[in-house]
């Protein structure tokens, strides 16, 4: 009898708890509206929205390879399954044509769609929540004046229980703090603008901050670097692997142009970001750079000295007569491959970006693993469309695993003062056999997924 009573009480508690959770998680729908006429939006507002959308990189996730801009359908791989981006064109049936401005602002601020369903944080509302109402109105005006695309994304591929959107209310209770952004009154206006853009629309931390087992950013490892789409994302805090320390000026230049003479070219998942930032006012990029370089902190004397030594080594090699052989490290295979295949561009004789970066200056060689060099060596850097850019030939046709490992070991030993990598062979094997799928981005932000050439289309009006 007593057991039964306890069980009954337990069951009642469970039902009650579930009821309270459902009530807590429930969000109301916002009534659909007739799609607003494109001419109803102020053109200056639309233009500002275009810049903001570029800062937010909306096009990167909301455009599937070869499909309409902002039409959605790109599969985003997460540890929980694949989430497909939605159609954010003003198509009334398949897009957000029937979303009112209020519904759009709520989705950005709270991560809830018009119908009241919780959105997965693959849509980075943990950052977008900081965006001001004013900027959200501009973004809304921009998106509602795009070409409507009739396109329904595939269903998400998420196993139970991750397919239950209601549970996201629990995730939000744990990890989500609602905005908008609050400026820090003792900091400069530029720093605050940079903080607002970096933490809000730019959502830099979505890639540059590692995530915990529930997919939330680890706040105590801010900008500590991670791995995204099988590209290594470098730390952009005090642990930046760049031999020459970044500063606000070099970051501004890099973010706007996609390359810097002391750091090389942007590629991998960063290429679409720099492509977007090249299209917006310089003051906003500079604000981001001011904030991020502040997070990186003032480099120590020792770091500055290391940077100077790396620059000096690079300069010496670029000025040495062509016949000079490299100092032998005993790795004959790696050295021979490097001298013949890599050095011709990477000796630094021709300036970046059309010449390759001298690897004494390379973040990739000094990073915690070899993944980024593996990716560019195997798949190359395809040319940008419609503009001059850095390119690199792909070597997957000739290098076998042993040869690539020798080459990577040689590069690490010759160009970095860091200890040898320990997981190079596993990474090489998994990348060469396709277990690690690597999207290859063009410098203009479009992708080329090896081996076929599907691209993410660019999207600027």
């Amino acid at each position: 009898m007593r057991v039964l009573k306890i069980l009954a009480a337990f069951a009642i508690l469970l039902v009650l708890g579930a009821g309270i959770f459902v009530a807590y998680a429930w969000r109301s729908a916002i009534d659909p509206v007739d799609p607003p006429a494109q001419t109803s939006f102020d053109r200056a507002l639309v233009a500002r929205g275009a810049d903001l959308a570029a800062i937010g990189n909306c096009n990167v996730c909301h455009t599937a390879p070869g499909r309409e801009p902002f039409g959605g359908g790109l599969g985003i791989q997460t540890p929980f399954g694949t989430i497909y981006s939605t159609n954010i064109t003003p198509d009334p049936e398949t897009g957000i044509g029937r979303w009112s401005e209020a519904a759009f602002i709520r989705s950005m601020r709270e991560g809830v769609d018009r119908e009241g369903r919780h959105l997965y944080p693959a849509f980075p509302y943990d950052h977008y929540t900081l965006v001001s109402d004013e900027d959200n109105r501009a973004l809304y005006a921009f998106l509602m004046t795009r070409t409507a695309a009739s396109s329904t994304p595939p269903e998400n591929e998420l196993p139970f229980p991750f397919n239950l959107r209601m549970l996201l209310a629990g995730w939000k209770a744990l990890y989500f703090r609602e905005g908008p952004f609050q400026p820090d009154p003792i900091r400069s206006e530029e720093w605050n603008r940079g903080n607002y853009l970096t933490e809000g629309l730019s959502h830099c931390g979505a890639c540059h901050t590692p995530r915990n087992r529930l997919g939330a950013e680890k706040k105590d490892e801010y900008f500590a670097g991670a791995e995204v789409e099988n590209w290594t994302v470098y730390p952009i805090n005090g642990n930046s692997p760049a031999p020459v320390p970044w500063n606000a000026d070099s970051l501004t230049f890099y973010l706007r142009h996609g390359w810097h003479e002391h750091h090389g070219a942007s590629r991998g998942s960063m290429a679409p970001v720099t492509a977007n930032l090249g299209s917006i006012p310089e003051a906003d990029v500079k604000a981001i750079a001011v904030y991020v370089s502040d997070v990186m902190g003032r480099p120590s004397q020792e770091r500055i000295a290391r940077g100077e030594a790396a620059s000096a080594a690079a300069r010496k090699e670029s000025e040495a007569p062509l016949t000079v052989r490299a100092t032998s490290t005993g790795n004959r295979v790696g050295e021979a491959i490097f001298l013949s295949a890599c050095q011709g561009c990477h000796d630094g004789r021709r300036p970046v970006p059309f010449g390759g970066l001298n690897l004494h200056l390379s973040s990739a060689v000094n990073a915690s693993n070899a993944q980024n060099i593996i990716n560019v060596t195997l798949f190359g850097l395809p040319a940008a469309r419609g503009e001059p850019s850095a390119i690199m030939p792909a070597y997957r046709g000739v290098l076998n695993q042993d040869q690539l490992v020798s080459l990577l070991d040689y590069m690490r030993e010759r160009f970095s003062d860091q200890p040898a990598w320990t997981d190079t062979r596993e990474r090489v094997a998994a990348t060469m056999n396709g277990e690690r799928e690597v999207p290859i981005y063009r410098m203009d932000g479009t992708t080329q997924a090896p081996p076929e050439t599907s691209m993410r289309t660019t999207s600027w009006p």
């Binding site: 295979v333 021979a336 491959i337 001298l339 013949s340 295949a341 011709g344 561009c345 395809p382 040319a383 390119i391 690199m392 030939p393 070597y395 997957r396 046709g397 000739v398 290098l399 076998n400 040869q403 076929e452 050439t453």
Partner: protein, 162 residues
């Protein structure tokens, strides 16, 4: 140092440093002058040959990587008397002006058509992107590659029937 290479089906011994680019060995040692020296840094595609089934830039590929691999150059696609389908198609479409880029174009196209002779124009354009042509012969080159694909499909069909 002696390097053993398999070029167009024949095994050849070459006395060259292991880091010598394949292009130099092909042209200077083996007198296969089809592959051209364009930029020397893997940016123009004039030196393209095939290694196994893949198009490879021979000017930035050291021979030490090629021990035991099968290399095909434009000379391996056919002869003057019996041109291969790609050569035939380029002749029929008159797809050359100065002709300097053409051996590289043909070898990259060969890699594509060998994998799938039924590829469409968009795939050909995308695949040939690394190869540059300064004369502006692109439209004819694309036509020739399409025709070569057709010739290959015909050949494999008639081959299947016999």
């Amino acid at each position: 140092m002696a390097v053993t290479l398999t070029v167009n089906g024949t095994t050849r011994q070459v006395d060259a440093d292991p880091e010598t680019p394949l292009l130099y060995v092909l042209r200077d040692h083996l007198e296969l002058n089809g592959a051209k020296y364009g930029c020397g840094i893997g940016q123009c595609g004039a030196c393209t040959v095939m290694v196994g089934n893949e198009a490879v830039l021979s000017c930035v590929t050291p021979v030490l990587l090629l021990e035991g691999r099968s290399i095909t150059t434009v000379e391996g696609l056919g002869t003057l008397e019996k041109p291969g389908p790609l050569q035939q198609a380029f002749i029929e479409e008159q797809a050359a002006q100065c002709g300097y880029c053409i051996p590289g174009m043909m070898m990259r196209a060969q890699a594509l058509l060998q994998a799938d002779p039924a590829v469409d124009e968009a795939a050909i354009r995308a695949h040939l992107e690394p190869n540059l042509c300064r004369c502006g012969t692109h439209m004819r080159i694309i036509k020739a590659v399409m025709r070569a694909g057709e010739l290959m499909r015909q050949k494999s069909q008639s081959g299947g029937a016999s």
